[in-house]
Symmetry: C2
Subunit: 422 residues, 2 copies
């Protein structure tokens, strides 16, 4: 298939609040990914205000560069909502009130205890001649589909969940039917890593990059919990899988030491798998992370099976009174030290009667750093049935970044110790 | 000043990754707010791929609708980066290598241990004839400012912190000078509320809306921690303050019972103020929130002054052994109950020797609900020097929403109890 026969999409977003920055346009990225995965890549986007002339200008320009145009926003019931008349006018279509939509709106309002349909909402029942109505299960503005001069135009509400609902419930199938045989979907896979910097991972990948199939694109997606490598290709089913397999075979040996082997790359899920399988119970003691390690662990539904609880030992007194650390150990080593991290891990396991304990102590900043122990220093330890392992890192970034990174590092040590054991 | 003499801006964003949705365009919202606050509202936006023709088409359309055009992205050193030549070509300007930029790039690379400047980076030193160079302290691509036919075009890097750096370091002043006397900035204020639903707040505000100055716009910004009301106006300094004062006088009585009176609307800061002022110490005991309450409290630097620590009593055994709850109380009332929330608040205050204790217990879901206590039920209690207060709510939303909302509700009860006391 030649490149110039490729089916392409364009998106026009309508909304003053997106221009003023009051709202971040999350629809755009979602639509970009969704349409690429369907095989209709977005080639251009416009954002315009609540202005009929601007909507028409953008639609005209979009019709010139793409086969499939989505216009989102401006379908509400107020005077500001101009998408319906602006598009109908530009395409030379008449607007007619659709009795089914009127009946549906009336029912919606009755269900909310409003007996009379507000007059302003009647505009939401207007349909350009020849347009197909796309039902909106989640709101009052239905979508509309218009065929024009060999192009397809879809008008969708701007409310993200309503827009997504219509795309996934009805529009996906329409796109597949409409452009049947011409779609080359973007297919991708993600390898999740943690414990390695993006630049270092990038250098390792550069060394093997020549071995990757040329049709496969790589993207590094860094976050506070690790760096993901997303590799993608635009190809039909069997060929796509084969290309991604070849790419993964090249990347796997590089990534293996840092890879989180769960489907979504969630370290907490990987930990949960081992704890459940081995019937182990867990407790945590945290200082600088102040509850974040326990929060991460309990983000996962069902964590009560293995997680007993924890102690947030923010004050040194709590480390001594509850976790059984000796005052002398704190004085000699300082609260941020290997001895204290290990003491916290062992102490909380003993206190809560668990097989596994985690201890974290550090300096999250912005204050409290010293030349020997700068802000960002975090010690973390794991105790597993009497065996202990500890490590430390000096993280960069602000208080939030140090706490997130310290938590991730502690969870990684826990995961590694559990994995080595099995 | 008549509306049609208003200075307006347009933004062209260049980057394939924004069309494919691999990256969410955070620059757009930031620029929208920044330019509005300077008095140059954004009236239209384009997003185009790494394609010279598309960049030129967007720039041409932008020049037709705005006085000030920002083009972001596509200034990097690779073949994909086409903004510089595409813009120069479209405006009929010649590109010339700027020796100062070359020297600066060479120094940057030397500092990183690369003795020879890579040939590809030389493209970043090319400047369209007549353009002004905008220094980029944070990256290798400087910004460029071009005057064209009474319009001003700024080319900026797409990396958010570099783009923001150039805008705040140099471009803001340039805009103020360039459009002196013609700028009418958008000025806004925010009232932060918590503990009231957006729809209810909206209805209360509707009752007084007629009393608001017509020049003032209202926006409701809902989040998991509460709903903020942002009210704004476009006016010059003394008039703007007067309009906002009038609006606030109308809104204040409505909002007062739900308002968080700190500058950024952070409940944790408001709590910290009282605890510090009154020299009170705090401990928390949490079950369903699993560390989130303590995490929120310790998000604030300096929280160690009043926060001693806490117990995450995920298992009932921990509630009994550490917090001193009686097993019979748990059996009779269930773990999610007023008695247990109060027992946890009192228990943790006694255990850690603090004046104030907080207890939270609930069903975050998705499992564990019953007809009497559905998923989303959260009981929270505060003990303050022996006095206790408890409350419960049934929150909607998923596990994350229930945990966030339960935490916020517990913090609100704590704040109210502390505020009533003083």
């Amino acid at each position: 298939m030649s490149r110039n026969k490729e089916v392409t999409a364009a998106v026009v977003t309508v909304g003053e609040e997106l221009l003023s920055g009051e709202t971040t346009d999350t629809n755009a990225a979602w639509l970009g990914r969704k349409l690429a995965s369907l095989g209709v890549p977005v080639v251009r986007r416009w954002v315009v205000g609540d202005d009929a002339e601007a909507i028409a200008a953008a639609l005209g320009a979009a019709l010139a560069v793409a086969d499939f145009i989505i216009v989102t926003g401006g379908l509400g019931p107020t005077r500001d909502d101009l998408t319906r008349p602006a598009v109908a006018d530009f395409l030379g279509l008449e607007l007619r009130s659709d009795p089914e939509i009127v009946a549906d709106l009336r029912n919606r309002f009755r269900a909310r205890g409003v007996p009379e349909l507000p007059v302003s909402n009647l505009s939401q029942a207007e349909v350009p001649s020849g347009a197909r109505v796309l039902p909106n299960a989640l709101g009052s503005a239905p979508g509309l589909l218009i065929e024009h001069d060999g192009r397809t135009v879809a008008l969708l509400p701007g409310v993200p969940r309503e827009m997504r609902g219509i795309v996934e419930e009805v529009l996906e199938d329409i796109i597949r039917d409409r452009f049947e045989g011409r779609l080359v979907p973007l297919v991708h896979r993600t390898l999740y890593t943690t414990g390695i910097a993006e630049s270092v991972l990038g250098e390792l990948v550069d060394e093997v990059r020549a071995g990757l199939p040329g049709e496969v694109d790589l993207a590094f997606l860094p976050g506070l919990r690790g760096v993901s490598i997303r590799f993608s290709t635009r190809a039909r089913a069997p060929e796509a899988a084969e290309l991604l397999d070849r790419a993964q075979a090249v990347l796997d040996p590089i990534v293996a030491p840092y890879r989180i082997g769960t489907e979504k790359g969630d370290l907490v899920e990987a930990i949960a798998d081992v704890l459940e399988r081995e019937s182990l119970t867990l407790a945590v003691a945290e200082s600088c992370t102040g509850g974040l390690v326990a929060k991460r662990i309990t983000d996962l539904p069902g964590s009560s099976v293995y997680f007993r609880g924890g102690v947030i030992a923010y004050a040194d007194r709590v480390k001594i009174d509850l976790l059984g650390l000796e005052g002398a150990v704190l004085v000699e080593n300082g609260a941020v030290s290997e001895a204290v991290a290990i003491g916290m891990a062992c102490g909380v396991a003993a206190l809560l009667g668990t097989e596994v304990g985690v201890g974290v102590t550090g300096i999250a900043g912005p204050g409290g750093g010293t030349p020997e122990k700068p802000v960002g220093t975090v010690w973390f330890a794991v105790a597993l049935k009497g065996r202990t392992r500890a490590s430390h890192r000096v993280f960069s970034g602000d208080r939030e970044a140090v706490r997130e990174r310290g938590t991730q590092a502690a969870l990684l040590l826990l995961y590694q110790m559990l994995a080595d054991r099995t």
